[in-house]
């Protein structure tokens, strides 16, 4: 699975996710990537893209929950991302990237690694794989 989340200079957020799914999956299987609210979500507050065990991401409505805990619990982006990965995946394994309308980036994963990259307007750039 691949994904990208962006907040632009006007503070608008967007998210996009694309995948081939699981190797050896049953034909017709649909995972989290096309499900708005599970693998992909964006609103006024943030943009989120997820990857990992699709079935766990679907059950946990992972992407929407990041926005919801920001909206209803008043958590910051990183706090929301930490909360969702820690509390919503049960035994599932997944990771996600997120941006907020304030120009923050955040990421979290409970797998052994995640291919990821970040950049912000103030010059911060990072590309990583391992924990």
């Amino acid at each position: 699975t691949v994904g990208c989340v962006v907040v632009d200079s006007q503070g608008r957020c967007a998210a996009a996710t694309s995948t081939g799914g699981l190797m050896n999956k049953m034909a017709g299987r649909i995972g989290d990537s096309p499900l708005i609210g599970a693998g992909t979500y964006a609103c006024d507050l943030c943009g989120v893209s997820c990857t990992g065990e699709g079935e766990a991401i679907i059950r946990g409505t992972l992407a929407r929950d990041v926005a919801a805990v920001m909206e209803y619990k008043g958590l910051s982006l990183q706090e929301a991302v930490d909360f969702v990965v820690n509390e919503r995946l049960d035994e599932g394994r997944a990771g996600l990237i997120a941006v907020s309308r304030n120009g923050e980036v955040a990421c979290r994963f409970n797998t052994n690694a995640m291919f990821r990259g970040f950049a912000t307007e103030d010059g911060f750039t990072e590309v990583g794989i391992w924990d």
Binding site: T1, V2, G3, C4, V5, V6, V7, D8, S9, Q10, R12, A15, A16, T17, S18, T19, G20, G21, L22, M23, N24, K25, M26, G28, R29, S33, P34, L35, I36, G39, T40, Y41, A42, C46, G47, T51, G52, E53, R93, G95, I97, A98, V99, N102, G103, C107, F109, T111, N112, A113, M114, F115, R116, G117, F118, A119, E121, V127, I129, W130
Partner: protein, 197 residues
């Protein structure tokens, strides 16, 4: 406003034995995609255009599990899916079951922009792709030798793998977690948790 920002990912869960040069290849692709997004944002493209642009690049490169290089179904074919969402008005588009569309994320965008719906799948999505004149290719375009090898291993292990990289020595030894982690099942098939997504 805090300024623009961008994040990209290429999948969670990585084969612990992934060779160094493959890791460098992956980092180079991620960096290239970041640069693409950064120049789009510096040219004041809206966020929705930037995410589509970057994911198209990731779909076109066979390194990660999307577009060309997608994981294979049990039948050895490719069925792709994607979704996109624009924050301000929470507009969204999604597609599933694509077999010939070269860039699924752009079809998802067209579902959002040019259809009265939010989600199209399988033959309906393929028909919409033809109506919209998006670039289509034979299903074989998406299939790579490496993934054919992965599928073979997955079938031998009778398991579903979350991603397309698998250690040369087979599933059992790739686990990093406690042994019983590997016995979790999904849909009746054993899942190897540390076979990467």
């Amino acid at each position: 406003m805090g300024g623009w920002a961008i994040a990209v990912h290429g999948g969670a869960g990585v084969d612990p034995n992934l060779p160094q040069e493959r890791q460098e290849e992956a980092k180079k692709l991620l960096a290239r995609c970041l640069d693409l997004g950064i120049s789009a944002l510096r040219s004041n493209l809206p966020a929705i255009d930037a995410v589509e642009l970057v994911v198209r690049e990731l779909e076109t490169d066979p390194l990660f599990n999307s577009g060309r290089g997608s994981a294979l179904t049990e039948n050895g074919t490719v069925e792709m899916e994607a979704s996109i969402m624009d924050g301000p008005k929470r507009r969204c588009g999604a597609v599933s079951g694509l077999t010939t569309v070269k860039n699924p994320i752009s079809l998802a965008r067209l579902v959002m922009e040019k259809s009265p719906h939010s989600y199209l799948a399988f033959s309906g999505a393929e028909e919409f792709a033809r109506q919209q004149g998006v670039e289509t290719v034979d299903n074989g375009y998406f299939i790579t030798e490496e993934n054919l090898g992965m599928l073979k291993l997955a079938k031998e292990a009778n398991s579903i793998l979350f991603d397309y990289r698998i250690p040369a020595v087979g599933l059992e030894s790739c686990s990093v977690g406690p042994p019983d982690d590997n016995l979790l099942a999904m849909n009746g098939l054993p899942i190897s948790l540390y076979a990467p997504e």
